[in-house]
């Protein structure tokens, strides 16, 4: 059982998952951000592996990815940076990225590196469930690496169930059919969608993502799932007008005062 699964064994609500792009704002910031988030009690850290063409992500993530790439971030550097991860913290860490990155790096080599540095799971938005279950699921399971799939308001019930079944970390519940980075309050449609997912998959660990950006939206999401994921709002906070660690602290305490 990896750290992610252990977390959900012990905590069933108000889980806060923060997304941060590796190597951003500065190349060397990756570990500092992880450490700081851990210190502030964040439950899960989703580390973005910057990609040139992140088609499932919005402008904020795309821009930060671009900067991270220009900073020199790549998978070799990332695993190097993460080599001390477990010397400092036991917070669950999942990597988020695009499937082509794994293919070119070598899929097994990539998974082995994850295990070696202590990464607990993966989110690969453009890897279809069918291909995963047919070709790769065993490789993940062998290594006790979690996988998380996404569901959206357009996902059929049957497909939600498959996603839940294949997701060994948590199910990523996309709050609305929209790219990360949009923000607004929950509408009726969204609430009935969350309720549907809840009644369809009462026993699945679920985190709501996309559009969560402040205390209100975070708390709102927590009512309908085990917790929420914050990405773009956190990225924007990272380049606030204070020092990095103060920017982070200010943001996290604004979410969970």
């Amino acid at each position: 059982m990896n750290r992610l699964q252990k977390l959900f064994d012990t905590k069933q609500g108000d889980i806060l998952n923060i997304y941060a792009p590796a190597g951003y704002p500065k190349l060397e910031d990756t570990m500092s951000i992880i450490t700081e988030l851990d210190r502030l009690g964040v439950d899960i850290i989703e580390l973005g592996m910057p990609y040139s063409d992140p088609m499932a992500d919005g402008k904020t993530i795309q821009d930060s990815s671009q900067i991270a790439l220009e900073n020199g971030m790549n998978l070799d550097v990332l695993f190097q940076q993460l080599s001390t991860l477990r010397e400092n913290t036991q917070v669950p860490v999942v990597l988020m990225g695009y499937f082509n990155q794994l293919v070119q790096y070598g899929l097994e080599r990539f998974l082995d590196s994850c295990v070696k540095v202590g990464v607990d799971g993966l989110i690969l938005p453009d890897l279809p469930m069918e291909i995963y279950s047919n070709q790769f699921q065993a490789l993940f399971e062998e290594r006790d690496l979690s996988m998380s799939f996404l569901v959206t308001p357009e996902t059929s019930d049957a497909r939600c169930q498959t996603a839940a079944q294949l997701s060994t970390g948590f199910l990523y519940v996309v709050s609305s059919s929209s790219i990360t980075g949009k923000s607004g309050n929950l509408g009726e449609d969204q609430i009935s969608y969350f309720e549907k997912i809840q009644s369809l998959l009462p026993d699945t660990n679920k985190l709501i993502g996309f559009g969560i950006h402040d205390q209100a939206s975070y708390e709102n999401a927590c009512e309908y799932a085990n917790g929420a994921i914050i990405g773009s709002a956190f990225i924007r906070a990272l380049t606030g007008d204070k020092e990095l660690s103060s920017n982070i602290e200010e943001f996290i305490t604004s979410i969970r005062p």
């Binding site: 070799d76 293919v103 799939f149 996404l150 569901v151 357009e154 929209s178």
Partner: protein, 394 residues
Amino acid sequence: MTYNINQKGFYGQFGGAYIPEMLYSNIARLKDSYLEITSKASFKQKFHALLKDYVGRPSPLYFAERLSEKYECQIYLKREDLNHTGAHKINNTIGQILLARELGKTRIIAETGAGQHGVATATVCALMDMECIVYMGSVDIVRQAANVSRMRMLGAEVRPAESGSKTLKDATNEAIRDWIDNPVETHYIIGSVVGPHPYPDMVARFQSVISEEIRIQLKEKIGRENPDYIIACVGGGSNAAGAIYHYLDQSDVKFVFAEAAGLGVETGHSAATSILGKPGIIHGANTLLMQDKYGQIIEPYSISAGLDYPGIGPMLANLIHSARATVEAITDQQAMDAAFSLARTEGIIPALETAHAFAVLERKKFLPEDVVVINLSGRGDKDLPTYIKADLAS
């Protein structure tokens, strides 16, 4: 061995649908219905009526006498430049807009490089009274200004893509994001044989009217359906796919694809995907892709906005990979020279994309009796500023 798509949406190892869940239901619905809808008699009737009366099909197959003399073989030009809006792109947009209507969609998005697909999309949206948003790299907006004007006049909104190389790839990313944001009422009209399954097959089928006509026209002209060569330029690959579709399994017909070498294959300023690329995933398909060892997509370069793409359609990737087709990498300068030569020899100003196909004539040696069909994918009006600048400089 067949070079066509298999049940799972693959051409050999290439193809598939590597898409985020947010696109799944749209793509699945397309995949499950496109063959059924497009094979209905009522759909076919509408499609072919518009191709005939609105697009101006069949496009002629023109025996280019002076060019044939110059290159000592029998050269026929498939005149897609004479289509309404000036390129082959409209064949596909007519098909997709009819499909979109069948699917009950009311809003259309598209990406465009040279602007020809954008114009073709804006055109069918005006015709069908649908809202139309076209994403276009901000670099391309500048170098294909005429087409931007046309899209706007047709009532489309042109949205600049400012990321990456600010060209076709980035416009495609933006269009995909829009679709993720607006999955219900929107249909995404992809402009080439790229993207997730079923797009490559769907677009190839709509474009296959080109080779269907070539067969009939060649038979009429020379008594046989099969040419010895078919030459086409390749950006995403839709005009090439259309021109070869009915010849895929005719092994006596050789395919030559012209890729954009930009300043030269080795210069780092190139879009010669099949030479510089390795298998990888772009815009939802596994195909040949220009990328670094970490899978980061390399920004391509070509003077021609329509070939300035780091991938290639999976059908073509498979043809090249299995040596069914050969590729010639044509530099900016060679394409430019070919455009001027065609203008002065046959009175036809080709699109800059198309000019790459004509440059192949300078490369390959043909037998006097070889029948060579070149797909004249588009006209050059949009490229006049580029041509004139080059002419003044030389």
